[in-house]
């Protein structure tokens, strides 16, 4: 798409200044704060959780939020706060690994397509178009149906769904820098294509990719929740927010907290990554506007 133009951020700009700029930015701070908190929860949630998230207590089923159980308990009498804290780990893990795979694959393809151009570009991007042509949820469900359910497969499904976006964003950014003088210079010096791609082109196209990564993390958390909600992701009794929401859904009448807290957790985390992404976009390149 020709309307998508990305400006190189330029490696020459001192990273320190960028960091200072980022830290002054409200969105980055707010989003970063949420993400940091989420990260801590994922790392230390297990140690900090007041209860064993799998421990059932049939004398305390459907207990409303109280001092003993700040988020209440579920249909097995399990402590929801502890489950939400554990769930952070699942969400963060799935999101990071899925986006990691997705970004590696997408960026590689995008750099190759954008840098080499010609039939390689055509081939890669048409294949990406084919994947992109399927509605995300449908594609993820179908992939899960083939691979079988489970967290690992959910990561793969999410990675497949979002890879074309990375490829597109990267390709756009690469095209905008590939004809610049430092690339031509490197070529004149006889450097290999691979080296030019990774050492010269990619670093100068990183801005949009970083922004896309943050936004994709948000979507990956949503996607994992959706897959688990349909029973395809995390398996019981492992607490994942999507699963907890699916379980809580049947009890909204008698125990609304079962559906409220996991939903809130998803929303806040997604919000964090989105704010961070938007903030980074402002910092890295104010002109760049994301197209998902």
């Amino acid at each position: 798409m020709a309307i998508q133009t990305a400006r190189p951020t330029g490696v020459s700009r001192p990273g320190l200044e960028l960091l200072r700029k980022a830290l002054r930015h409200g969105l980055v701070l707010a989003g970063g704060g949420v993400v940091l908190f989420l990260g801590c929860l994922a790392a230390f949630g297990q140690a900090l959780a007041p209860y064993d998230p799998l421990a059932m207590d049939f004398t305390a089923r459907f207990a409303p939020p109280s001092l003993a159980h700040p988020f209440g308990t579920d249909d097995f009498g399990r402590d929801l706060l502890s489950r939400v804290m554990y769930g952070a780990r699942v969400s963060v893990q799935v999101a990071f690994i899925a986006v990691g795979i997705s970004a590696s694959a997408g960026v590689t393809l995008g750099v190759t397509a954008g840098y080499l151009g010609g039939w390689v570009d055509e081939l890669i991007m048409r294949v990406m178009d084919v994947i992109f042509a399927f509605p995300a949820v449908l594609l993820a469900i179908t992939v899960m149906a083939i691979l079988g359910r489970g967290v690992e497969n959910a990561m793969i499904a999410i990675a497949i769904v979002y890879a074309p976006i990375f490829a597109r964003v990267t390709r756009g950014a690469v095209i905008s820098v590939r004809d610049r003088e430092f690339v031509t210079a490197a070529r004149a010096l006889g450097q290999t294509h691979t080296r030019i791609m990774w050492a010269h082109v990619l670093p100068n196209a990183l801005g949009p990719i970083i922004v896309q990564t943050s936004l994709s993390l948000a979507f990956a958390i949503l996607a994992e929740a959706a897959l688990s909600f349909f029973g395809l992701g995390t398996q019981p009794p492992d607490p994942s927010w999507g699963r907890m929401l699916a379980e809580g859904r049947g009890f909204l009448g008698q125990a609304p907290w079962m559906g409220i807290f996991p939903g809130l957790a998803i929303m806040v985390s997604v919000l964090g990554f989105n704010l961070l992404g938007d903030g980074l976009r402002d910092v890295l390149d104010p002109r760049w506007r994301g197209r998902r």
């Binding site: 509605p135 449908l138 959706a226 909600f229 559906g259 929303m267």
Partner: protein, 316 residues
């Protein structure tokens, strides 16, 4: 817009659609489980399963199955026969298509009804409290899981207040009121979310036009910002809004799949999920193929309309 460009885009479209059909077809035999076993249930004997699979034509080589499938679609619009209900899928799809289109269009209308005023209000005075409010709403919209939103709406409007039915679909031929009552909640679920997201795009589209010379000139002439927005900017921003709508189709279609399931809405998304669960290969193929074709075509139209509406953008 040159004819050569148009032809090239159409060529690419066909190529992508061919790829889509191949993928749709190729992934399906990879699914574990057999439709014959689903039909026969717990009481399936291996012999009965084998017989039924033969009757369903599942024992033929894959290329043969592909050619007969795609051939049927292209020559006769025949998507095959559902392995489960044993009815022609074409009838099923024609029956479900209006439901999905209804849902998508009403959702889009609700979305635009939210996005345009909200975007307008916030572009009116960037940095104001109202602008901030719209940004917050927009951020929340992107972050709310659609399935959660649907459940909360059912709880509030259907169960607690009892105003609207919680599920089902009535065709428009049953009368406007029953139709509207049924479509409102599912469409609002999708519409509120996509409207919140679109509000942000509308805002930036408006702001971009505001930054352009002729608008500045209008300003300089002393026209109040509100009038400038209405007279000059909205019209010019329409182009961007068309694009936004096109780009939103992806999110919208995905959300529609989810919402159809939650609201028991008899559309293509629901068909796709049940077909996946029941291994009804032809039905799944039809639903996925149609969704992908719709999506691809909408994308092309979005791009083309962009060129068409804005002569400054030209493709070569």
């Amino acid at each position: 817009m040159s004819l050569a460009y148009l032809l090239r885009r159409l060529g690419t479209l066909l190529l992508v659609l061919f790829g889509v059909s191949l993928v749709t077809f190729a992934i399906i035999p990879l699914l574990p489980g057999s439709p014959a076993r689903v039909t026969l249930g717990v009481q399936a004997t291996p012999a009965a399963v084998a017989t039924l699979e033969r009757q369903m034509g599942l024992d033929r080589p894959l290329p043969v199955q592909y050619v007969s499938w795609i051939g049927g679609i292209l020559t006769r619009g025949d998507f095959g026969t559902s392995l489960i209900s044993r009815q022609p899928i074409r009838g099923e799809v024609t029956r479900r298509l209006p439901a999905t289109i209804t849902l998508a269009l009403v959702a889009l209308a609700i979305g635009l009804a939210i996005a345009i005023p909200a975007g307008y209000v916030s572009a009116l005075k960037p940095g104001s409290a109202r602008d901030l409010g719209v940004s917050v709403m927009s951020q929340l919209g992107v972050s709310v899981p659609d399935f959660w939103m649907g459940i909360l709406l059912i709880l509030l409007f259907s169960e607690t207040l009892g105003w609207l039915p919680s599920s089902g679909y009535r065709p428009l031929s049953d009368g406007f009121v029953p139709w509207g009552r049924h479509v409102l909640l599912p469409a609002a679920t999708v519409g509120i979310i996509s409207g919140s997201i679109m509000a942000r795009f509308v805002r930036s589209a408006l702001l971009e036009v505001l930054g352009q010379d002729y608008v500045r000139t209008a300003h300089a002439k002393g026209l109040p910002r509100r009038i400038v927005l209405r007279k000059h900017v909205m019209r010019n921003a329409a182009i961007s809004i068309v694009t936004i709508v096109g780009l939103q189709m992806a999110t919208l279609l995905s959300a529609v799949v989810v919402v159809e399931i939650i609201f028991a809405w008899p559309g293509l998304g629901q068909l796709a999920l049940t077909a996946t669960l029941q291994r009804d290969y032809p039905a799944l193929q039809a639903a996925v193929l149609l969704a992908a074709v719709t999506f691809t075509v909408v994308n092309l139209l979005t791009d083309l309309s962009y060129t068409f509406l804005d002569p400054r953008v030209s493709y070569t």
